[in-house]
Symmetry: C2
Subunit: 135 residues, 2 copies
């Protein structure tokens, strides 16, 4: 299997596959006599692993760690759990931040909709104004 087929199969850009290899996420495959990458069928599995892990919120760095840990699979469960917990914490933090943003922004939008006066934008006012207008 050459890189183009792997790309089609996994729906991942060729450049991205080579990028993953550089990042250490894909094991450098055997090469044909002319230097073409020759992937075994496992490669598809591996690429999908990477994409699934990304969907779970792991960074490429963490995914690399995960793959390292996979090598001594039996003893690494604890370490993997740690990574997952770190990802979860990060996700929770982001959700909290975003919710805070959302509620603040939501308030401003309500003010905008109610249009208490016609002459100024409540959103800009509530932001304090960029300088000409002391809030």
């Amino acid at each position: 299997m050459r890189i183009g087929e792997l790309a089609t199969e996994t729906d991942v850009n060729i450049q991205t596959l080579r990028y993953y290899e550089r990042r250490g996420l894909l094991t450098p495959p055997d090469r044909s006599a002319s230097g073409y990458r020759a992937y075994g069928p496992d490669a598809v599995q591996r690429v999908r692993f990477v994409r699934r892990a990304q969907e779970l919120g792991f960074t490429l760095q963490e995914i690399g760690d995960l793959l390292m840990l996979w090598k001594d699979s039996v003893r690494s469960c604890h370490a993997v759990e740690g990574r997952a917990r770190a990802a979860l914490t990060r996700i929770n933090t982001k959700i909290t931040d975003l919710k805070r943003m959302r509620s603040a922004l939501g308030k401003y939008l309500v003010a905008c909709e109610q249009r208490p006066a016609l002459d100024e934008c409540p959103l800009l006012r509530l932001l304090g104004g960029p300088g000409e207008d002391p809030s």
Copy 2:
């Protein structure tokens, strides 16, 4: 007021202030005879506006737009509302994505904790496994 004082006052890095100026978020201030930026007191207000807007989830691009719109403040309320709505939509999308990640990851972690068997990590198993490494 020179740039260092503005930086201290707003708790924003000097480099960042110059970056904001390049991005068009800060009006280029007057210069002293020797070329030093000389800010008026409004500059503090302006920098704080930028930071507050960032906290609401606006990108620097959008903040730039907001500042443009501010110029014709009366007629721009609608346009501002549009930006805010875009930011809100983006925030909601992110929250949804993150919640999906969190619930998936949470399931795996539960499996990890319950440790149904001692010999393999459920998290890696549930990810499908990275493919047996031929190395």
